[in-house]
């Protein structure tokens, strides 16, 4: 029998800075994107890579790490090996991310130093996760297996990342294009996507009250995406075209299987409200489908516009809306757990839905969705004006996101 006791649950003051830092860097990355000249943009452009690191490390990973401080006990059904490590992981990730973004955009010599700090933060995170996994005596369930797989990919991904940082800074000579592809697949697909696949199978049925669905599609998806990442990485490092294409095929099949699983969760859910959580998920998975479509176009056409649009849709649409949607569930819960749960039975306490600022959340969703789709259109059409309109919407959405977060955190 398992329960997240107060001993297992980390204090809110430990997790809150991850979410606050994450949404602030989300806004900063949206403002950063306003500086892109789309007509001359390529996916290997240092400013693009700088933006990708700012967004993925500063927002996506920052929020995932904060959420994992809370979710590791839920998913792994045991307390952290050393939850206090999260007090140093966040600040290190923040400083390292800023140094890396500046390194890519302005001063390349900062890259290895920023990269080393980010690497250290991630290794500490992976260390805690694996030491926590060691405490589990029983057979690993699906979510646990996904945590093992994703963190293994993260470990190798950050090692390649530091090699890349040294290469970018001119300290060592490497094949940057090959290593970059391997690094991207290990971290973005191997860690972020696998983490999403694993955690979503805990969180979406929990919030949607989905029951009686088959696990087979998502189990096959985990196998396919893992094999796909390995194939692409080996293909990139060995310059083998057929291995890479096998990897792309497996990855695409994995995403289709995962998409099918999500549709089953949707169909078997008991909660059919179209609240901010549900609407965020609709946009997230819609963006995922569009990102896959544009990604396939890139594979067959080699068009830079297609890969940039695919990345934009995946990062700001799929990852972004999945994260913001879950923030509207996780943050009220954490605040409620800390502030109101001791008062249950003694005085009237709010429901979690009462703690979400509906209008602010609606504005956040509308502006951000406009930002995702207008920005993607700008990238596909090669129009800086349209893209900048999209980035402006994204920044406006970021302001409403910060407002919503502060409202939920200060709820009394």
């Amino acid at each position: 029998m398992f329960a997240v006791t107060r001993d297992f649950a980390p204090p809110f003051r430990l997790i809150a800075p991850y979410f606050v830092t994450g949404v602030i860097l989300y806004l900063v990355s949206a403002v950063f994107a306003l500086g892109f000249d789309v007509s001359e943009l390529g996916f290997m452009d240092p400013t693009v890579i700088g933006w990708v690191h700012l967004y993925l490390l500063g927002f996506v990973m920052m929020v995932i790490f904060g959420a994992m401080a809370q979710l590791v006990p839920v998913v792994l059904e045991t307390g952290h090996f050393a939850v206090d490590l999260y007090y140093i992981i966040g600040p290190m990730l923040f400083i390292g991310t800023l140094m890396m973004a500046l390194g890519f955009a302005l001063w390349p010599m900062m890259l290895p130093f920023g990269g080393l700090i980010v690497l250290s933060a991630m290794l500490i995170f992976v260390f805690d996760v694996f030491m926590t996994i060691r405490k589990i005596g029983e057979k690993l369930n699906f979510a646990m297996r996904s945590v093992v797989v994703s963190n293994t990919f993260l470990f190798f991904g950050v090692l390649l990342g530091i090699v890349l940082a040294l290469g970018y800074a001119g300290i060592i000579g490497i094949d940057i294009a090959a290593l970059l592809k391997a690094h991207v697949f290990l971290v973005v697909v191997g860690y972020i996507v696998v983490t999403i696949i694993g955690l979503s199978m805990v969180l979406i049925p929990m919030f949607g009250l989905s029951h009686d669905f088959s696990w087979k599609p998502v189990e096959r998806s985990l196998v396919a995406v893992s094999a796909g990442v390995v194939a692409v990485v080996l293909g990139a490092l060995s310059d083998s075209g057929w291995l890479s294409w096998t990897g792309y095929g497996l990855w695409l099949a994995a995403m289709v299987l995962y998409g099918y699983e999500v549709i089953m969760l949707y169909r078997t859910r008991a909660r059919k409200e179209h609240d901010i959580y549900a609407r965020s998920l609709y946009i997230a998975y819609g963006s995922m489908a569009l990102a896959l479509l544009t990604g396939v176009v890139y594979l067959f056409s080699g068009s830079d516009a297609a890969i940039l649009a695919a990345g934009w849709l995946a990062f700001t649409g799929f990852f972004g809306f999945l994260i913001t949607g879950h923030l509207y569930k996780i943050v009220p819960f954490l605040v409620w757990f800390e502030r109101f749960s001791p008062l249950v039975g003694k005085q009237k306490v709010p429901m979690l839905a009462d703690m979400v600022p509906q209008r602010s959340a609606d504005f956040q969703l509308c502006f951000t969705a406009a930002g995702v789709f207008v920005g993607a259109a700008g990238l596909l059409l090669g129009s800086s004006e349209i893209f900048k309109a999209g980035a402006s919407f994204l920044a406006a959405g970021g302001l409403f996101l910060i407002h919503s977060m502060l409202f939920m955190m200060r709820y009394k």
């Binding site: 029998m1 398992f2 329960a3 997240v4 006791t5 649950a9 809370q70 839920v74 998913v75 805990v202 969180l203 049925p205 929990m206 919030f207 009250l209 029951h211 009686d212 008991a270 909660r271 059919k272 409200e273 179209h274 819960f333 409620w336 757990f337 109101f340 749960s341 249950v344 039975g345 306490v349 709010p350 429901m351 979690l352 839905a353």
Partner: protein, 99 residues
């Protein structure tokens, strides 16, 4: 002598903060046994195994039952079979969650 109705009424004061309904109307309470010595056994489930409030909800149920006059002690047994589904909930819950 404590009655089942009193126990169910007491548990009805325990509300799941996520969905906003009490545990009885959610259909999470599978049974109540009342001993002559005032000891109560509540058999219940949760809507998901991953529920992060698991232990707190169990504690709230125990405390609510032990407030009933005549109850000496309450134990809560959480079971996962049969697994909860929405058909176990009261009509007002089904209607509200149905969107």
């Amino acid at each position: 002598m404590v009655t089942e109705e009193q126990i169910y009424d007491a548990i009805s004061t325990v509300i799941d903060p996520e969905v906003g309904f009490n545990l009885v109307e959610m259909g999470l309470i599978y049974g109540v046994e009342i001993g002559e010595d005032g000891n109560v056994m509540v058999t219940m489930t949760l809507s998901t195994k991953a529920c992060p409030l698991h232990q707190m909800i169990v504690q709230w149920v125990k405390e609510a039952c032990e407030k009933v006059e005549g109850v000496n002690n309450c134990e809560v047994n959480v079971v996962w079979e049969p697994a909860w589904n929405i058909t176990m909930a009261a009509d007002n819950v089904k209607k509200a969650l149905g969107g």
